[in-house]
Structure formats: C-alpha cells, structure tokens
Amino acid sequence: MTAISPDENVATDGRGVWSTGDRAVEATSHVLLAGWSIIVIVPFLWVVLSSFKTTKEILASPFSLPAHWTFDNYTKAWTDAGIRHFFLNTIIVVGAALVLVMLLGAMCAYVLARFAFPGARFIYYSMLAGLTFPIFLAIVPLFFILKNGGLLNTLPGLVMVYVAYALPFTVFFLHSFFKTLPHEVYEAALMDGAGDWRIFFQIMLPMARPGIAAVAIFNFLGLWNQFLLPVALNTDPSRYVLTQGMAEFASQAGYAVDFGALFAAVVITVVPVLIVYVIFQRRLEGSVSQGTFR
C-alpha cells in the first residue's frame, strides 16, 4: 500500500518524520488499541487462572492465585464431565462434514462456473438465497425430515445437515474462484484426451487449492462453532458435540456447578483452535480479504 515516495522523506525515513503531533496521535492510538486488547485478553487469562483453582477458591476471590497448581480440574472435565466424548464426536462430525462439503461444493461450483447449461443460473441463485435465510425458519421441518429418515440423533444425520447448510457459502465463494482459472489449461487437457472427471480431479482441483484452503478455514470455524443444529437435531447426550456439551455442562450443574472443571473445559475447547489460529493467522487474514475482494 505504501508506495516508495521519491521525495526527501526517504532520506529521513524513520524517527525523523515524527513530529510532536504525530507522537500525540500515536500515543492516543496506542492507549485506545491497548485498552481494547486488554478487554479482549483479560477474560481469557482469568479463565486460565481460574481453571487451576478449586471451586471454593473461585467463589472466595476472583483474583487470588490457586493454592496448589494442579491439573485436577482438567482431569475432571476431560473424563468425568465427558468432554473427551464430546471432543471425539465433534472431530468426527466436523471432519466428515468438512471433507464432504469441500468436495461437493467444489464439484458444484466448478460445473456452475465453467459450463453453460439450462438452469445453471437458477441453481446458482437458489444457492445464494440459502445464504440469507435464517436456519431457524427451517429447524422445525428439518427435525421431522431427519426423524422420518431415521437420521435424527445420529452423527451421519448431523453430518448431512452440516454439509447442506455449509454448501451455499462454499459454492458461492468457490464459484468466483473457479471463474478466474485460465481456460487454456482446460482446453490443452481436453486436447490431450483427458476426460472431464480427470480434468477436475487432477488439474482444476489442485489449481484451486488457495481458494479451497480459504473457504475450508471458514467452514471449519463455522462448523466447529455450530450450536443450533446439534441442539435441535442431536439430543442424545452420548452423541453431543463440544458446543452442546459445554452448554449442558454449565446449565445442568446450575446449583452445584463445578466451576473449576467448567473453566478447565473452556480452556480445553479454546486452546486447540487458538493454537491453529496463531500458526495460520496470516493465511486466515488473507482469506478474509479474498472473501471481500472477489
């Protein structure tokens, strides 16, 4: 964004260009930004601290340090409260749904973007419409569709619903991505005798990798965070996903909440994604910009 300017500033670049006004503005900005950062970070740090305290200590004083630093709360949350199972269920459901929706979404977006056939536009726009409808409108009939199909309260049923509701977003963004891929490659491959199937899987799909990675990241976060669909459609506690398990854990305890274990469970839920985020943050931010500048 900052073009190298050919004027005298180049020579004095660095400290030299900072005037008193600049310093005042900079200081104010830092105060504002640091203030917001504190508001963001402090609740997390407090949760981490509390996760090492006993429930008694937590209720006694919010600031105090734990008398003994132990992982007791983590063991309790992981095994007794069943976070272990919720975690496993989530990985199965989100993993399966992510692979499926990326594959099906890419297939659909590819054909819609690169082949002209009657109804192509209609299909595309009906997908777009799906992006704007609130899931809440569909939730009741959806419940009965799954029930009648024997898919209610099953992980495969949940996977199918996840796929269906992530599909519009996936198709929408990959559609614009496939449109930008050069036509020459396709024609050259056709000339060499490759069929449509081979062209897609061996040429187009690998070429679309950056776009697919970007969409996959957002689908992962969206599905990992999904709450309404499992709460309405997956009510068997042994098949709970993490978000459901967390809600249940907090509410069922109600009067006798094991706060220590609750905080530990929060940390267990947050940290894996946080680590992935810190590692991939540049790519993720790149994806946000790709999402806006089609």
Binding site: T2, A3, I4, D22, V25, E26, S29, L32, L33, A34, W36, I41, P43, F44, P62, L104, G105, M107, C108, V111, S126, M127, G130, T132, P134, F136, L137, A138, I139, V140, P141, F143, I145, A164, Y165, L167, P168, V171, G195, D196, F200, N225, L228, A232, L242, T243, M246, A247, A250, F259, L262, V266, V270, V273, L274, V278, Q281, E285, V288, S289
Partner: protein, 309 residues
C-alpha cells in the same frame, strides 16, 4: 450432443450436491411456510389448516412482541457499535502512523490485529459461558475489578439480572466477539485503497480525522454494507449468546429473542405450527433489515458508487 462422459459428469457433480441441498434446505423452508398456517403440534398425525390465525395470534402475543422489540434493539445497536469500533481500530492500525512521509500503520499493529481477532476463533456458546462468569455478581472478575478501583456499589451487582443492564451487557458480549473479525475485514478493504489517494489528501492538507471520514469511509462503504448485513442477520438470531447468558429470557424478558421464543414454543411446548409462524416473521424481519441497509447505502452513496464503476 454432449458425450455420455460429459453428461454423467455433470449429473453427478451438480446432481449430488443439489439433492442434499434440496432435501435439507429448500424442502424444509418450503414446508415451514405451509406449517406456519396450521395448528400442528408435531406429535399428532393430523392438523388443521388455520390460514393466518397463527400470525394474528402473534400480533397479540406479549412475549413475542417483547422479543421482536429486543431483536430490533439488537439490530440497531450491535452492528453500528461493532462497525464503528472495528473501523476505528482498522484505521488506526493501517493509516494511523506519522502525518508526514509514507502513509503507514502504527507500530505494533500486527499484535493488535491478532489479539482483537481471536474471540472469533472461540465458539459463541463458550464466549457466552465465559462472560456469564465474568458478569457473575460475587465471583466474577468485573465486579471484583470495579470494587477494587473504588466503585463499591458494584460489589454484588447482577449485570445480567437487572432489567436496566441485562440487555446492554448482553450486547457488549456480542460486540466484543465480532469487533476483531470486522477489523480484519476492514483492514483488508483499507489496504485495497491505493496509497496515492491518501498521499494526495495529505498534500491538500487534510488531517487524519478528515481523511478517515472523507476518504476511507466512502471507499470501504461496500464492505461496511456487507458487514452491516452479516451482523444484522447474526443479531436477529442471537440465539447462542442469549441462551448462554440468560437462558430464560432475562429479567422481565428484557433479553428474550424471537429465536429463543421459537425454540421454546417448538421443542418445549410442542406448538410446531405456531413456532414456524415465528420463524416466518423472523425471516421477514431479516429480509426487511437487509432491504433497509441496501436502500440507505444506495440513497446516501449513489454518487460515489457511480463514480467508481
């Protein structure tokens, strides 16, 4: 005539995703429109077609009207505050640097961006749980901090239990969780503006504030529109947050949303027909919201838009 290979290819590639989409998305939406005009309880095989009865009943349903009002409040306040905060942070980190020389961001901008983004990676339900604890009257960190710095009267103040503060406190949680995401979105949009434009504005003597209002804002307004609509859709739902903070609708229903009302009506009370009618209202309000945002953007920004195209 396309080859068999091509036909089978297209049939599988479009047919398979489309089948899933139609069965799990289009079909239930269509059914919802019909069920909203019945008195179906969900457990009986038969039901009566009641026309618009459910909707007239909704008009007189105090709880639902209260929920609708809460959703409208959310849709007015949350997107606006979130976008103002996010735009401010984005402006500071991208063009907040020195007033002379190259246009550039403030030092340490990367750190601020990474930090403000990370609530977005935390599931909404977990955000709700964390803040429910932060707001806890006696064991929460908010009151402990306030008491420590001298506001003794907050010692046991129930932020989520008091009619005056339950809604603002809930709004703050939603804003908190989205500011970072939209900051990143706006940073990307601002970086898309050529640096020369900022430099030209500077040469003409425009100060920072002036630059932000008359250069940055008009040039990123399409992104702002997108952000407004996404945020609007999010808070017109708001189910997860409210369910975590105040599962029973808050004091005197001050934080109850249409989505919570719908969920209870359907899955607790078993009035599925009535609940889908609520869903229809929710969908209409969402469409109306999007239409208003589009119209406002179009009316106020028509000139700039034509200029750019």
């Amino acid at each position: 005539m396309p080859s068999v290979d091509r036909l089978s290819f297209m049939a599988v590639f479009v047919g398979l995703p489309l089948a899933i989409y139609v069965v799990f998305v289009i079909y239930p939406f269509g059914q919802a429109l019909y069920y909203s005009m019945t008195d179906w309880s969900g457990f009986t095989p038969t039901y009566n077609f009641t026309g618009l009865d459910n909707f007239t009943k909704l008009l007189h349903d105090d709880t639902f009207r209260r929920a609708l009002r809460n959703n409208i409040e959310l849709a007015i306040v949350v997107p606006f505050v979130t976008i103002v905060l996010a735009l401010t942070i984005a402006t500071l980190v991208t063009v907040g640097g020195p007033g002379r020389g190259n246009v550039r961001g403030i030092r340490g901008s990367g750190f601020y961006r990474v930090v403000s983004f990370f609530p977005y990676t935390v599931p909404a339900i977990v955000i709700g749980l964390i803040w429910a604890q932060v707001y806890d009257p006696s064991a929460g960190i908010l009151n402990a901090t306030l008491t420590k710095v001298g506001f003794g009267r907050f010692e046991n103040f129930a932020w989520l239990g008091d009619q005056r503060t339950a809604m603002p406190a809930s709004m703050f949680v939603i804003i908190w969780s989205f500011v970072g995401f939209y900051t990143v979105l706006f940073v990307a949009a601002i970086k898309g503006v050529p640096g020369e434009i900022y430099e030209a504005a500077r040469m003409d003597g425009a100060g920072r504030f002036r630059t932000a209002i008359s250069i940055t804002l008009p040039l990123v307004r399409d992104t702002v529109q997108t952000a407004y609509i996404y945020l609007g859709i999010t808070v017109l739902d708001a189910f997860v947050y409210m369910q975590a903070l105040n599962p029973n609708g808050g004091p005197n229903n001050t934080t109850r949303t249409m989505s919570q009302d719908l969920f209870n009506t359907a899955f607790r009370k078993g009035q599925f027909g009535y609940a889908t009618a609520m869903g229809v209202v929710l969908a209409l309000v969402t469409l109306l919201f999007a239409a208003i945002v589009f119209t406002v953007n179009h009316v106020t920004g028509g000139a700039e838009r034509r200029l750019r195209r």
